[in-house]
Amino acid sequence: MKKYWRTIVISLVIVATISTYYIQGAMSSKNDVTFKFKTTSGNKEEIENLVLQASYKHGDIYHPLYISKDGSTNPRSRFIIEDLIADPVPLEFEKYIQDYRKFMRGKVFDPSNYFEDEARLIYTDFSVKNRQVLTLQIDILDKQTNDSTSFEVTTSGQANNSWMQVNDVYVKNGEIKILGTSYLYNDEEELHVYTVNENKKELEDDSIIAKSEPDMSSIRIYNDSSKIKNENYYLYKVDKYKNKSEDAESVIISSQAYLHNNLNNEVEEIDIANKLKSEMNSMILHGGEVFIPVHSANGLELNRYNIKKKQWGEPLHFNFPTKANNEEELFLQLTGGKLYSVNRVSDGYSLFIGDLHTGKSLYEGKIIDENRENLNKDFSLTIDQIYSIY
């Protein structure tokens, strides 16, 4: 036995240290920060199916989290090797992969590329054939039978495109409309609406609804990129610059918001009052209305434009505690006729849910650490997305 002392010592040190490290790691993970909701007022059912995709930052370390009424979970409590192979699957796509495993193979997990209704799930993406021809790939899944069909349509004159991106898919009456941005080699940007006839499997129309010139103008789309269902309008803004150069800060000389109506293919301008022009970057398109939120000391003023009536209505006022920290942006999301807001307050984060029709508060609460009621001051919580999982 004495002869083997070297091997025995090395083995013992390895086993003792590594096992202590993993046992301790397993024990301490139970004391990790875990968040939950604490209701202050309103209807608790509002948070029943809510999942907040967030990231918790302490020091220079980020921890991705999902927070729901049952507490918080770490979506990355999976193999590191998995992370090396592929990006994590967004929460909303986990269900699609579970239900339509075969159909979802090889697809980009970006809601912008999808359309869904009761019967079908449609996916579209651009692909380049022989480095010359740009095609639109369209995959249609019949949710009832689980059968899928695929076809491709060729778009015209794409040799000068450096990159194409699908921003939204709209499907109605046998037509598939794809809002796509093409980035050209000369730094120009074009916003296209491609109309594909589903039955004939051919491209019916390709119209450029906006175009930007390098250093002179830019385009930004305001449709909810997480929405898979039909949106009747595309909301976008074109900014024009005063001779933007690399060294000087860009000076915007005009900003114009446009709405493309998918039902009649018409584009209309939206008149925005001067006092709201500076807030245009936070425009939100939701339920036939364009909203422009303006933050105030005690809450939020939500200005609303009715697209059908082509007029601005009385703004909604929501009162909730606002941020106590200038570095953190207030999180705002409009989903299902409701306003969701998460923001920093003096002792943590508040969660507010309001009704977009009545302007009334539906739920008010806080996001608290389960283990420590009062969180350390030097942490921050960033909300990326709020999901309603039914």
């Binding site: 070297r6 490290y21 790691g25 020091g59 590191i80 592929a86 193979r105 090889g106």
Partner: protein
């Protein structure tokens, strides 16, 4: 089994002195490094704050807080790691070639032992893995001491909050979150060493021609091992991550099984004593 353990101990004993030197070098290098890097930061802080009349928060705004990563990415830390890796890679070859090329061609005595020849292969493989895991363990213990040293030199106000080893990206692969992953990652390491061993045996069996066989064999093994990842590269997102991991496990077993089978065959029939 007894022969195997004896051989493992024999291999460890042969490298032990050099191993102790390596351990000593790592400890000295890293301890001097951690003191110098953290003291360097504090000296800078004192100088800058004194010269420009800055408060702690103003200094931090301009120069950032001291995070343990500053030391981890310093030459003191990285050099010691590189030296250990280089030594182990050299020893993967040395563990075989010194038996052949040493003074008394020791391999002849080893191969004449009344035991299966593959036992020698397993013993050498185990020795390399033990030496590697030993260094991994040393690093784990050293980091804990180093964090204490940093904490004693750099006041809390100047430090970035750190959750420990699992949050320093360089350590994520060395000490993965779960023990299962630890076994998986070092299992992959074991496969690579085994493939190298078999390639060495090819060279020893067929000499000059053997180098060619060894290269072909090595490339084939790597090809099979990385096949699931290549497949994922050709058909992006077609396979889900868990499927690729499962395929990877299957190819790993194929590579490991075949490498041991080939090594056994070469040792038994091709290496003549």
């Amino acid at each position: 089994m007894k022969n195997y353990l004896k051989l493992v101990n024999f291999e460890i004993s042969r490298f032990f002195k050099l191993y102790l030197i390596l351990i000593g070098l790592t400890i000295v290098c890293q301890l001097i490094g951690v003191i110098r890097v953290s003291k360097g930061y504090m000296d800078l802080a004192e100088k800058v704050m004194d010269k420009n009349q800055l408060s702690v928060s103003q200094f931090i705004e301009q120069y950032g807080t001291f995070s343990f990563q500053r030391f981890v990415y310093s030459e003191w830390f990285l050099m010691s790691i590189y030296i250990c890796i280089a030594m182990l890679i050299i020893y993967v070859f040395l563990i075989w070639y010194r038996d052949w090329l040493g003074k008394n061609s020791f391999i002849y005595r080893l191969l004449m032992l009344p035991t299966e020849r593959i036992t020698i292969y397993f013993a050498k493989l185990t020795a390399i893995m033990l030496l590697l895991l030993g260094l991994i363990t040393l690093q784990l213990l050293l980091v804990l001491i180093e964090i204490q040293i940093v904490n004693s030199i750099v006041p809390a106000d100047f430090r970035t909050y750190s959750y420990g080893i699992s949050n320093i990206d360089i350590f994520v692969l060395m000490y993965p979150n779960t023990f299962t992953e630890f076994v998986l990652i070092y299992g992959i390491g074991l496969i690579f060493v085994a493939v190298l061993f078999t390639a060495i045996l090819f060279e020893r069996s067929y000499r000059l021609k053997g180098i060619f066989f060894a290269i072909v064999y090595g490339v084939l093994s790597l090809g099979v091992f990385f096949a699931p990842l290549l497949l994922n590269g050709f058909y992006p997102r077609y396979f889900y991550p868990l499927e690729i991991i499962l395929m990877g496990m299957v190819t790993s077993f194929i590579v490991l099984g075949s490498t041991i089978w080939i090594a056994n065959h070469l040792l038994k029939h091709k290496i003549m004593v």
